[in-house]
């Protein structure tokens, strides 16, 4: 899973840029709206009357409509929307959902190494798609069918404002969607928790062993339940743990009469709270640089450091407070990638060291390194104890250091990681090493995941209702889907607008398809002016698309948040807050646009 640390920037950093963005986007939207409004009414009434009509339209919007906004009227519209949705049998969606779950066993890989991740991804993806489709279909037919069946006549001839019709519908459909989503959440939760639950017993007999200190220990293996088994050890005190298999372990207890019991699975459904840091690098000579080595992957999420050189990755963590670590030690989670330039003994892990150093380099205070053996493809936890010793040159006296008092200054901690094995590499991105704070509640994280889905649903409803004020249902449906796609592929469109995509824009791409040209070869047409025209047209199209897409919600980033739940990461409350504020802003904008659409159209044909 890739984590974009800009998602984790502080709320105050974000809100400033968000407001600026909102202001610019609103300005563009207002100008475009006024220009289009003027063109339309200019055609209808002539240039001067048209301008008057636009000014009057904006004036009455504020003076007669927004100023007299009534919750009661909006509530009435919402109520009818709910009734209508229920009549349209939206609950069928729930039945489809239930069927998916009943037969989930057919297509979920039961042998998966990460069953919890699989189950969570499954429920979250299913719910997201079903709920988004539901939101789309429920809201896209409502207003157009009211207009087609003319029920709208008896509504708009009442003192209800267009803004209330738009907002009321959004609220009504959101209420229906919320109810269904809540139902799906409850079912999903039970499905995941029950699906993960299992009990082992001992297979065969316990094998007695003598421990290092000569005391009696036991080892054995569990029965195979839910497609896996564990090996386990029991210490002299009768307590032990199993190995980690399928993302979880059990604690084991042996009572006096020799009976062995296993706990329910541990660490399977959790909400890890990561504290991420900033990452920088040192090059082979030990000089600061902002990137490591590119080992040849085109894709550059991770950078690599070479073993046996001075190359290092340095993480700086801020805001570390002693009271957050009640047991006095800091759990550091490592998800390093290993790139081997030679195979060596494949079972022998590549080794690394980890230094904790005082953030102020002039103090030259470094703790003795902690060595570790990398675990590829699996997260490893290194506990940094409170009591450490100063890294010293041979002959110097040993000096005890306190992690919190001596090495962390103003809440800042620095960790340097180096690879120990010559010509082997460690790969890392900023999010690959983090401090693991005390876990959050899984159920709460699960709810947060559903809140994220809910926010997407709300935005989709708002977009659909907006389009349905102007367009007939099928066209509104297509328009919403296109908007979603453009919002979802914002990053791609941005790269296309910057000319970073091979193969050019849509026209060029079309010609390449017809000519069966490779994307990488230059576009060679017979007439250079045609080529020039095509490239210019593509450029203009890409720029317009870019501006448009940049103003839309970044659906991909929102969807990504639900992955957090599947990967057992806690979704930070601030992120939920940020998305909630953005969603609210978007709903406001879409309702405004919807209002002007509805206000400027004739509802009677």
């Amino acid at each position: 899973m890739e984590i974009d640390l800009s998602d984790f920037s502080s709320f105050y950093d974000w809100i400033g840029s968000a407001i600026l963005f909102a202001l610019i986007a609103s300005l563009i939207l207002t100008i475009v709206g006024i220009v289009i409004g003027y063109i339309v009414s200019g055609i209808r009434y002539g240039p001067i009357e048209g301008a008057v009509a636009v000014a009057r339209g904006i004036g009455t919007a504020f003076a007669h409509d927004f100023a007299y906004f009534s919750l009661r009227r909006t509530g009435a519209i919402a109520y009818v929307a709910i009734k209508e949705a229920i009549r349209r049998k939206v609950l069928v969606v729930f039945a489809v959902f239930a069927i998916f779950f009943l037969f989930a066993g057919f297509f979920l890989d039961t042998e998966s190494e990460h069953p919890a991740r699989l189950y969570l991804s499954f429920v979250l993806t299913t719910t997201t798609f079903l709920v988004l489709f539901l939101a789309l279909f429920v809201s896209v037919f409502s207003l157009p069918s009211d207009i087609a069946q003319r029920t709208i006549y008896t509504v708009v001839t009442k003192p209800v404002r267009a803004s209330e019709i738009v907002l009321g519908r959004m609220l009504g459909f959101t209420a229906v969607g919320t109810l269904i989503l809540a139902g799906m959440m409850a079912v999903s939760y039970v499905f995941v928790v029950r699906g993960m639950r299992h009990h082992h017993t001992v297979e065969g007999a316990l094998e007695p062993k003598t421990g290092k200190d000569g005391k009696q220990e036991w080892q054995g293996k569990t029965t195979r339940d839910r497609y896996h088994r564990h090996k386990f050890r029991i210490g002299p005190d009768g307590n032990g743990t199993t190995e980690m298999v399928h993302q979880h372990w059990h604690s084991v207890q042996r009572s006096g009469d020799g009976k062995v019991t296993f706990s329910p699975p541990r660490d399977q459904l959790i909400a890890r709270v990561p504290k991420f840091g900033r990452l920088r690098f040192l090059d082979r000579q030990g000089n600061p640089t902002n990137k490591g080595v590119n080992v040849g992957y085109v894709y550059e999420y991770r950078s690599y450091i070479e073993g046996g050189t001075k190359q290092a990755a340095i993480w700086t963590f801020d805001g570390i407070r002693e009271q957050d670590f009640p047991d006095g030690r800091i759990a550091l989670a490592l998800n390093l990638r290993v790139f081997r330039t030679y195979m060596g003994e494949i079972k022998v892990p590549v080794r690394g060291v980890l230094y904790i150093q005082h953030p102020d380099p002039t103090k030259n205070l470094i703790a003795e390194p902690i060595s570790f053996a990398s675990q590829e493809f699996q997260e490893q936890i290194i506990y940094i104890p409170r009591k450490l010793y100063r890294y010293r040159v041979t002959g110097e006296a040993s000096e005890e250091l306190d992690l919190f008092r001596d090495l962390i200054s103003d809440g800042r901690m620095m960790i340097k990681i180096q690879c120990d094995d010559n010509a082997q590499y460690f790969g890392m991105a900023a999010a690959d090493v983090y401090i693991r704070m005390p876990d959050g509640y899984f159920w709460f994280n699960f709810i947060k995941g559903y809140i994220i889905i809910w926010l997407q649903m709300v935005i989709i409803i708002a977009i659909t209702v907006m389009y349905s004020t102007l367009l007939k249902s099928p066209i509104a449906l297509v328009a919403t889907i296109v908007t979603f796609i453009i919002g979802y592929w914002q990053a791609f469109i941005e790269r296309m607008a910057k000319g970073e995509i091979y193969g050019g824009g849509p026209l060029e791409a079309f010609i390449r398809i017809v000519k069966q040209d490779n994307l990488m070869t230059p576009l060679e047409l017979k007439w250079p002016w045609v080529e020039w025209t095509i490239k210019k047209a593509d450029w203009i199209f890409s720029q317009i698309l870019h501006v448009f897409s940049a103003m839309l919600p970044t659906f991909r980033n929102i969807t990504k948040m639900t992955e957090f739940v599947a990967y057992n990461y806690d979704i930070p409350g601030t992120i939920v807050g940020r998305h909630a504020i953005s969603a609210l802003a978007y709903v406001l904008v879409f309702s405004l646009v919807g209002y002007f659409f509805l206000k400027s159209r004739e509802v009677a044909g």
Binding site: D65, S70, A76, K83, Y153, T154, V156, P159, A604
Partner: protein
């Protein structure tokens, strides 16, 4: 007669007051996708409706009656000219506070029942709950739908839908009621009820504008009419003035003996007058129908005694 007097007073007063509806060169052109003119539905219409009168818009199908009403309600935008209601532009939602509208067909939410329907429209007028309940009960009683108040509208007959449609139009006790073909689809009983309700509204000082192509209905209730043909205003005025044939009178006599007849002819000849039309008086089918229904209501299960005699009379 009493209503005539009332309307006359209202009409004289109205010269001083603001008209309830005023259209100034109201024109509506429907265009196709390419902006080419398809139909010119209303052409430079100038109308004034005064407070307290029942105003009829009549004309054949496609003459622009419904379009005019839609323009007045702001459901359509004028191509040129303007429509004012209570002095406000027709597109101003604030005018709707004082308007009740019964569309051509009652376009209501079929999945709501009568109570829910009226409650919904009451909420659109921002009425508090207690007032909505009171008004709902009153109106359901008035349109005689008490027995079906909990049934969803999809189960309603056409007449019942029409009645609940009227009830929703009156939920806010409007000063202006616009009725688009109010009697279409109603049986004669329902038509009479509707007409009675219209006259009652007038008696309570409301202004009613109705459009219809059922001329008898218009004639029975309207004070003034405007006749549209092909989107143009052809005639406008008080119904009594428009329909009076100044130099002719209708006489209907019973039991006139032959000698009396001769004297009458002599009298006509003496004054140089001329008999324009003369026929054997007949009852109307409507009168017959109404009598049968009334008698059947009085004596259920029996064949109405007058029915056969009346029918034989008419042969």
């Amino acid at each position: 007669m009493a209503t005539d007097v009332a309307s006359e007073t209202a009409a004289t007063e109205s010269t001083a007051t603001q008209p309830v509806i005023e259209t100034q060169s109201l024109t509506k052109v429907f265009r196709d996708f390419w902006g080419r003119e398809k139909v010119r539905a209303v052409k430079a219409l100038d109308l004034k409706v005064q407070p307290g009168e029942i105003f009829g818009l009549l004309g054949p199908n496609g003459s622009g009656k419904s379009t005019t009403i839609k323009l007045i309600l702001g459901l359509l935008f004028p191509t040129s000219g303007r429509a004012l209601v209570f002095g406000k532009d027709a597109t101003d939602a604030r005018k709707n506070d004082r308007i009740g509208y019964l569309p051509e067909e009652s376009y209501l939410y079929k999945f709501l029942n009568a109570e829910e329907t009226l409650d919904f429209y009451g909420r659109l007028f921002n009425m508090p709950a207690a007032e909505r309940r009171r008004r709902t009960n009153e109106l359901i009683d008035m349109v005689k739908l008490n027995w079906a108040r909990r049934r969803p509208l999809r189960e309603y007959s056409k007449g019942m839908t029409r009645r609940i449609g009227l009830a929703q139009a009156l939920i806010n006790d409007p000063d202006l009621v616009l009725l688009d073909e109010p009697t279409t689809g109603l049986d004669p009983l329902g038509t009479d009820d509707m007409k009675e309700m219209i006259l009652e509204l007038k008696a309570r000082g409301k202004t009613v504008v109705m459009c219809s192509h059922l001329l008898p209905d218009i004639q029975d209730v309207c004070d003034r009419v405007a006749i549209l043909y092909n989107g143009e205003l052809k005639e406008q005025g008080r119904l009594s003035d428009l329909l009076t044939v100044k130099d002719e009178i209708d006489v209907r006599l019973r039991a006139l003996p032959p000698e009396g007849r001769k004297e009458l002819d002599a009298l006509v000849a003496k004054y140089g007058s001329e008999v324009v039309h003369e026929s054997q008086a007949t009852s109307t089918l409507k009168d017959l129908f109404m009598r049968i229904v009334r008698e059947s209501e009085a004596r259920p299960g029996k064949r109405a005694p007058g029915a056969s005699s009346s029918s034989s009379d008419s042969h």
